[in-house]
Amino acid sequence: MAVAEPGQRLGWTASGDQWNRWLRRHEWARGYLLMSPTILVMLAMLVAPIVALVVMSFWTQHVLEIDRTPTLANYWHLIEPAGPDDETAYWLGIPFPFKRAVYIVLLLKSILMSFTATVAVILLAYPMAYFLAFRVKQHKMIWLMAITLPFWTSYLLRVFAWKLMLGFGGVINSGLMKLGLIDQPLEFLLYNPIAVVITLAHAWVAFAILPIYVSLEKIDRSLLEAASDLGDRAITRFFRVTLPLSAPGVIASSLLVFIPTVGDYVTPTLVGGPTGIMIGNSIQSLFGKMNEIPLGSALSLVMMLSVTLIVCLFLWAVGYRKMQRSIA
């Protein structure tokens, strides 16, 4: 491309030309300029709230007043050990010797429920993704849309749908009663952690299909033929080639489901009942009717850090970096 003489192009001042030339020579500057709208949105919507959360977590609430003196009191509040007079709390038979064990227990319970939901999601999504990647030959887009069709409705509606399915007079109970298999509605279906896990698993499964599908679709078909050729039956081949090569997709899907579900509070509110509440419910009430915003901030941060830690440990344990290098 010919470089225009200064002044040759109408409307270009000397400094504008210089700026233009500077931009052309500095690729990083062009990059940041192009990304600037995104960066601004990220700063306003993501970085600023988290900074606010961190700052608030060091404040103290005195009924209606907020004391802005920095203190670690909120964090201490969450992990203060039980005194000699306090009754030890138990969860799943494990003692939790904390003064207010409810937060720690709730956090662990949320993580466990999320983990269970994630495992369920992967078990549901993998066969669907597999079918889509290997069995469907034509119109894959239509299949993909058909599978995700129920997920075009609102999240809330889908949770309500499960309430109708699992409820006292719900589809499952009335169906079983009509068939004469049970005399009374099953009570264990709704308002407990299992109902939350079922609902979460269904709500998130559509999001998990796509990453797994993409990683399966990417597998070179000659690798599968090579495995057969070298003596593997279909099942052996699946565990030796297909599964390891689709691991990045499985990992991505797991994180996609696990991270947001730990903090979910809509599903436990609607189908969880008293035993099915999660950490999100606790944070919501601290920010809301309990008016304990600093404590709520501290709890939110503890939750976020715990999730981050778990995710990092998980990625390290499965050797994700090594995997990315060799497969991607």
Binding site: E225, A227, S228, L230, I327
Partner: protein, 366 residues
């Protein structure tokens, strides 16, 4: 030939993909221990035939037997064949050692025995010390060797190679050709080699099957394929061939007199059974068997007049394309560049005479 000499027997095998006949009623045998090539242009069905041998495709009709066993109900993992894929298909999540040992699992060898075999295989492909590398740390040639070793350690009765050298650069390809041939002699396994590169097939193979549009045109060793092709397609696919149409005249003592329109009559040797007078034939002459001269040669050889149209320079030799009246394509003449000449194009446009010995031409069915 007894059954024991043939490791593979292909009996009227067809493979149809919808209306396309990828392999069309093909039958032939492959001998134990030979280096057999399937040669043909892309889309001629050679890869499909190889995949039928491997078990990845089932023939629409016909039967394949390997070492006397019918294969139609035997899945790929149970066949006594192994394949070297065109893309090499090296498992990206495993290192070289694990890749080579992949097929050993079904043999349930001990750890030490497996390690020994892998080491041996690495020696064979001249890559000792590469066991811990991953496939993305290997060059194309190295991947190709690993794929070869991985297949060979399974001790197949037949090794199938699907254009394994296609992705390598020319120099590496030539090196690998020599190596491949050496390895084949060392291990003594039957190799079935698919290629579209005729030079590669000619150098490597004991026998070659030339395929076109799903059919096998000719199966022969390199020399005969080049010197005695059985039809125009084979003649033109392997090397360059000049074609002159004519009609058989008098036939005597293994010689035929062929009338070729305005060019008069030519003498040609008849291989095998003598054709009946009056049959239309093609006189086929290789470029290096044509002589070019300024003067009209003597009457003991066949000759015709033409004009040099173009020159293609290949370094060691040049091809002169001589326009001859009545011929649709110019005739190619290959001349060794025995003398150092810095300009060959000064011949363009000059009238010349072409001549050849009666024994140099092949008569092909028209």
């Amino acid at each position: 030939m007894t059954q024991g000499d043939n490791i593979i027997s292909i009996q009227s095998v067809s493979k149809h993909f919808g209306p396309v006949k990828a392999v069309d009623d093909t039958s032939f045998n492959i001998k134990r221990g030979e280096f057999f090539s399937l040669l043909g242009p892309s889309g001629c069905g050679k890869t499909t035939l190889l995949r039928i041998l491997a078990g990845f495709e089932l023939p629409t009709s016909g039967e394949v037997t390997i070492d006397g066993q019918p294969m139609s109900t035997v899945p790929p993992h149970a066949r006594p064949t192994n394949m070297v894929f065109q893309s090499y298909a090296i498992f990206p999540h495993l290192n070289v050692r694990e890749n080579i040992a992949y097929g050993l699992r079904k043999r349930r060898l001990g750890k030490a025995e497996t390690a020994r075999i892998v080491e041996q295989a690495l020696e064979l492909i001249k890559m000792p010390g590469y066991g811990e590398r991953r496939s993305d740390q290997l060059s194309g040639g190295q991947r190709q060797r690993v794929a070869l070793a991985r297949a060979l350690v399974c001790q197949p009765k037949v090794l199938l190679l699907d254009e394994p050298l296609g992705a390598l650069d020319k120099k590496l390809r030539e090196e690998m050709q020599i190596e491949l041939r050496q390895i084949q002699r060392t291990v003594g396994i039957t190799f079935v080699f698919v290629t579209h590169d005729q030079e590669e097939a000619l150098t490597l193979s004991d026998r070659i099957a030339v395929m076109s549009r799903g059919k096998v045109l000719q199966i022969d060793h390199s020399t005969r394929l080049y010197e005695a092709p059985n039809c125009r397609e084979v003649a033109e696919f392997i090397g360059t061939m000049n074609i002159l149409p004519g009609t058989i005249g008098e036939v005597s003592h293994g010689r035929a007199n062929v009338a070729a329109g305005t060019h008069g009559a030519f003498e040609a040797r008849t291989d095998g059974s003598a054709p009946r007078p009056g049959t239309p034939v093609l006189i086929a002459i290789r470029p290096e068997k044509l002589q070019m001269s300024w003067e009209r040669p003597g009457l003991s050889v066949n000759s015709l007049a033409g004009k040099v149209g173009a020159v293609a320079y290949f370094g060691d030799r040049s091809h002169f394309y001589v326009d001859v009246e009545g011929c649709e394509k110019p005739l190619a003449v290959a001349l060794q560049n025995g003398e150092r000449r810095l300009d060959g194009s000064d011949l363009v446009g000059k009238p010349v005479w072409l001549s050849w010995e009666p024994d140099s031409a092949v008569l092909l069915p028209a």
